[in-house]
Every structure is written in structure tokens, then in C-alpha cells.
């Protein structure tokens, strides 16, 4: 029986073993940070000798960390909103409309994802320095929105391509205007994908380090800029606490996004 199975699906022992090792490698950094954050020693220790919430208290008491967190959450939220508002109509046009030079436009939309972030970051830095936008919420938001746009575009395009065009036609044949069709058919069907895309865009914007590193000013820093500086100058376990909180927030968001999708699939089958 086992001989039959191994013939049917080639899965060499070596590949299985490698997979297990790689999985440990992949998970190690994420997992290691969490216990470190609950230590009490000033220098890093693993595993910590005694457990405490010292570094969480220190994080929440530190004005600079709190400012950076506040700024990052605001920027990520607004950037996500902006990118969604830009990406959604664009996606619909690519799926249902006609655009001249659509190939070039698609390349433009995807470029921020493909080109090195450092180049984008430096370009934005020089330009925003001229326009006086460095360290401003507006500057951060548009920069993050530009970076999030390709991800949202791809996520939404995948969702739109799964929509049956006959649904639009059915709505029209039943008397719905194009706007009514969008409001009552297209949008509700896309909503779970939109929410999932927004969750991922939010995380991406929150975690983005390169552009936010360059656009931050000494008085207005994002969370990632603050972390970057602190890791570079003085590796304090407060960073482990911050990291743990970021991991937690990310997984809550990803989990919710996944849940929304699962519920939709369960309810309506494959749309």
C-alpha cells in the first residue's frame, strides 16, 4: 500500500525533512521575540530569567513611542483608505471598461511594488523636501498609498475576475442602472475582498520601514522609524515588546480578514 502511495504522489523523505527544517527557520524569529519581551533584564536574554511586563509598561509610558504609534496608525489607516478609493475604480475599469494604453497604466500601477523601495524612498525624500512634505501626515499618507496601491489592485483584480459578468448583465436586464448594479450587486460581492485587501494594505503600510525611514523628521517619526533608530543605537527589550504588539495586531487583522472570506465562501459557495 505504501509503495502504491509513494508512486502516486512523489514526496521524497528529503523534501519532507527539508520542509520541517525550513518551517522552523521561518517561524524562529517571530516566535523568539515574544518571550524576550516578557523578560525583565536590561540586556537581551533568552529565555528570560524571570517574567514581567516591565517593557510593556515602559512602552506605554514613553511619550515618543506613543507618538510614533499614533502617527503610524493614523498614516496606515488614511493610506489604506486612500489606496482603496483609488484602486477600486481602477480595478473595475480594467475588468469592465476600456482604457487606452492599459498595458502602460498597469505597469505604472505595479511599478511601486517591483522597483526597489530604496529608490522610491530616496526619490520621495528629495521631492518632498522641496515641497515641504517630509514629516507631514499628508506626505506619509500619499507615499504609503502609492506603495499599497499595487497590492490592493492585485487583490481586488483577483476578486473581480471571479465575479461572473453575467451578474452585471442580469442586473441590467432586470432594470438596474449601472450605479444600482454597482451598489447592490458588485460592491456587496466584492466587500469581503475589499476588507481583506484593506487589512493587508493596513499591515503593509504599518510595517513599511524604508520609505517611512526617509520621510520621517526628527519631530515626526513613524513607529518603524523609531524602531529602526532604537535598534541601531541601543537594542532595548522595549523593542521586543513593541514587536510582540505589532505581531499580535497583525495576526488579529489577518485572522479577521481570513474569517470574513471564509464566511462568505461558506455562505454563498464559490461566487
Amino acid at each position: 500500500m505504501s509503495a502504491v502511495l509513494s508512486r502516486k504522489t512523489f514526496r521524497p523523505r528529503l523534501a519532507t525533512l527539508m520542509t520541517m527544517l525550513v518551517v522552523v527557520f521561518l517561524l524562529l524569529p517571530t516566535i523568539i521575540v515574544i518571550p524576550v519581551s516578557f523578560g525583565s533584564e536590561k540586556y537581551l536574554q533568552f529565555p528570560p530569567k524571570d517574567w514581567s511586563l516591565v517593557w510593556y509598561r515602559a512602552f506605554f509610558a514613553d511619550r515618543e513611542w506613543m507618538e510614533a504609534t499614533r502617527l503610524s496608525v493614523i498614516v496606515a489607516g488614511l493610506a489604506t483608505l486612500l489606496a482603496t478609493l483609488l484602486a477600486l475604480p481602477l480595478t473595475l475599469v480594467f475588468a469592465r471598461g476600456k482604457l487606452p494604453a492599459s498595458g502602460a497604466i498597469k505597469a505604472l500601477v505595479l511599478a511601486p511594488m517591483i522597483l526597489p523601495h530604496i529608490v522610491t524612498a530616496v526619490g520621495l525624500y528629495i521631492t518632498f523636501a522641496r515641497w515641504g512634505l517630509t514629516g507631514t501626515v499628508f506626505g506619509f499618507v500619499v507615499a504609503m498609498a502609492v506603495l499599497a496601491l499595487p497590492f490592493l489592485f492585485l487583490t481586488l483584480s483577483a476578486a473581480v475576475s471571479k465575479l461572473d459578468p453575467a451578474l452585471d448583465m442580469a442586473a441590467a436586464s432586470l432594470g438596474a442602472s449601472r450605479f444600482a448594479t454597482f451598489r447592490l450587486v458588485t460592491f456587496p460581492l466584492l466587500l469581503p475582498a475589499i476588507l481583506a485587501g484593506m487589512a493587508f494594505a493596513f499591515i503593509t503600510a504599518l510595517d513599511e520601514a524604508v520609505v517611512s525611514n526617509f520621510l520621517s523628521s526628527s519631530i515626526s517619526k513613524t513607529l518603524m522609524k523609531k524602531m529602526f533608530e532604537d535598534i541601531d543605537f541601543d537594542v532595548s527589550p522595549i523593542i521586543a515588546a513593541v514587536s510582540t504588539l505589532i505581531i499580535l495586531a497583525t495576526f488579529v487583522l489577518v485572522g479577521v480578514a481570513q474569517l470574513v472570506r471564509t464566511i462568505q465562501t461558506r455562505r454563498m459557495g464559490k461566487v
Binding site: 512523489f10 514526496r11 527539508m18 525550513v22 521575540v33 475604480p89 505604472l108
Partner: protein
């Protein structure tokens, strides 16, 4: 029938659309405009500024490019960057392929679990991971403690701020991209092909070599391209985990921009990196397209 009457009134008010199946040209342009304008203002203009700086700062001419490509130091850094990106790409491919293969061959539940394991690092901020590697690799870190405890070494090893650390951490960040890229192709190969090959007398290894591997090439190509390009422009991980002898292009560009304030040189180096990236995309794009046709 009041409904019909109402509908008749509605009909008269309906505009005639030139393409009833989708958006008209005008509607399309209108809907695409915000995104395109935003990208022009906050992406194309910044990149153009960079090019402009490289050609005009401090005065008009190619002197920045002469400096960037004429200096042994900068060429060494460029070479180091390309070499590192290549090493990371090969490592990611060697580590990633077995995972992708296993993911495509196990039952849905195990595959889902594996997928989560691959996605968890992807959704952990790059900075958080860089920090984690510091915890693991530093003098009193996890690895040194373990090796000292086991008596393998007497003195703690210096692992942080070396090229090895940069390669390890960069591979870790980019590995999920490789795995997902290969997996997305492997999952589309019908399992019947394996059975057919086996039925026709191929050994498990022959099946892999003659059926699975060739069919998964598009996934390998796109994974290699993605990882290589991302590795070329990596900034955060080398900046935090590398030392002076592992200075890479991105870090160099960053230094010229914010520390030396030599925007002309930063521009020229950026354009160089950009051109290499675009050449690679173009080249691989052609290979992928040919693969797709064949």
C-alpha cells in the same frame, strides 16, 4: 399595471450607452484618473526628480555617473550587492522548492498549516525580524549560548554584523515569496500527470525530473526574478545586521541622500539600480512569455 407605466417613464430618461456591457471610454478615463494622477504626482515625479538630480547636481552633465561607475569602491559595492542577491536567490530556491513541493503534495489541512507557517514571517514586520535575528545571533544570543552550553565553542562567535548574518536574514525575508511563487504553479499541475507517468513506468525521481520540474519552471522563474530584484534593493536588513564591510547599494544610496547630502550621486546610483532592475524584469518577462507559449 402601474409598474410598467412607471418603467416607461424611466425608459425615456435612460441615457443611451455606447457600450452596454461595460464602461464607456469616458467613464473609464474618469474612473482611472485619480489613481493615475496620484501615481504621476507621488511616484513618477519623485523618480524623475531623482533622474534630474543625477544629471544636474551640482551642474549639468554626466559627472555623477562617471563618479558612480568609475569608482572602484562603488563598483565593488555594486558587485557585492549583485553577488549577495544571487546567493540569497539560490538559497531561497534550494530551501523553498522542497517546501513548495511538499505543500502541493500533502492533504488540504496540512497544506493549509504549511501555508500559514510560510505566511507568518511574511506578515511579521521586516524590522521585527531584523530585531529577532539580533537576539538570536548576538554575542550573548541564542546560538552562542547554545553552542557554549554544549561545549562546541569556548568563545562566543561573532556572527552579527557579518555578511553571513545579512544573507541569513535576507533569505529569511524573501523565502516566502519564492515558496508561494513555486507553489502557485505546482498546485495547478494535475495529480493525474504523476499517476500517468508512474503508470507509464517512470520511477518517482524520473517523474519529478521529467514531469513535475519542467512544469514548475514558470514558478521558478518568477520566484527567482522576484527574490533577486527585491534582494538588490534591500535596505533595512543589511543596514541593521551588516557591518561596514557589507555595505550594499541601498545602504550606500541612503547614506548619500541623508548623510553626505550628495543627491546627484544618490540619483546616479539609484538610476543604476533601477536600470539593472528594469533590464532583469524585461529579460525575465521575455523568458516567461516564451515559456508560457511553449
Amino acid at each position: 399595471m402601474p409598474a410598467s407605466l412607471q418603467h416607461e417613464a424611466l425608459m425615456l430618461a435612460q441615457p443611451v450607452s455606447d457600450d452596454p456591457r461595460g464602461f464607456s471610454l469616458r467613464q473609464s478615463l474618469l474612473l482611472a484618473a485619480p489613481a493615475v494622477l496620484c501615481l504621476l504626482a507621488f511616484f513618477v515625479v519623485p523618480l524623475s526628480t531623482l533622474v534630474e538630480q543625477s544629471l544636474t547636481s551640482p551642474r549639468l552633465g554626466l559627472q555623477n555617473y562617471v563618479r558612480a561607475l568609475g569608482s572602484d569602491l562603488y563598483l565593488l559595492i555594486l558587485w557585492r550587492t549583485i553577488r549577495l542577491a544571487a546567493i540569497v536567490t539560490v538559497l531561497a530556491l534550494l530551501l523553498g522548492y522542497p517546501v513548495a513541493l511538499t505543500m502541493s503534495r500533502v492533504s488540504g489541512r496540512v497544506a493549509g498549516l504549511l501555508a500559514i507557517c510560510v505566511l507568518i514571517p511574511l506578515w511579521t514586520a521586516v524590522l521585527v525580524r531584523a530585531y529577532a535575528w539580533i537576539v538570536i545571533l548576538q554575542r550573548q544570543g541564542l546560538v552562542n549560548e547554545a553552542l557554549l552550553g554544549l561545549g562546541v565553542i569556548r568563545e562566543p562567535l561573532r556572527m552579527l554584523y557579518t555578511e553571513g548574518a545579512v544573507i541569513l536574514a535576507t533569505t529569511h525575508v524573501l523565502l516566502p515569496f519564492m515558496i508561494l511563487s513555486i507553489f502557485s504553479v505546482l498546485r495547478t499541475i494535475p495529480p493525474d500527470l504523476d499517476r500517468a507517468a508512474a503508470n507509464l513506468g517512470a520511477s518517482a525521481f524520473a517523474t519529478f525530473r521529467h514531469v513535475t520540474l519542467p512544469l514548475s519552471l514558470p514558478g521558478i522563474y518568477s520566484g527567482v526574478l522576484m527574490v533577486f530584484i527585491l534582494a538588490l534593493g534591500f535596505y533595512i536588513t543589511p543596514a541593521l545586521l551588516g557591518g561596514p564591510e557589507t555595505l550594499l547599494m541601498a545602504t550606500l544610496i541612503g547614506q548619500q541622500t541623508t548623510e553626505t547630502l550628495d543627491w546627484g550621486l544618490a540619483g546616479a546610483l539609484s538610476v543604476t539600480l533601477l536600470v539593472i532592475t528594469l533590464l532583469l524584469v524585461g529579460l525575465f518577462g521575455r523568458v516567461l512569455r516564451l515559456e508560457g507559449k511553449g
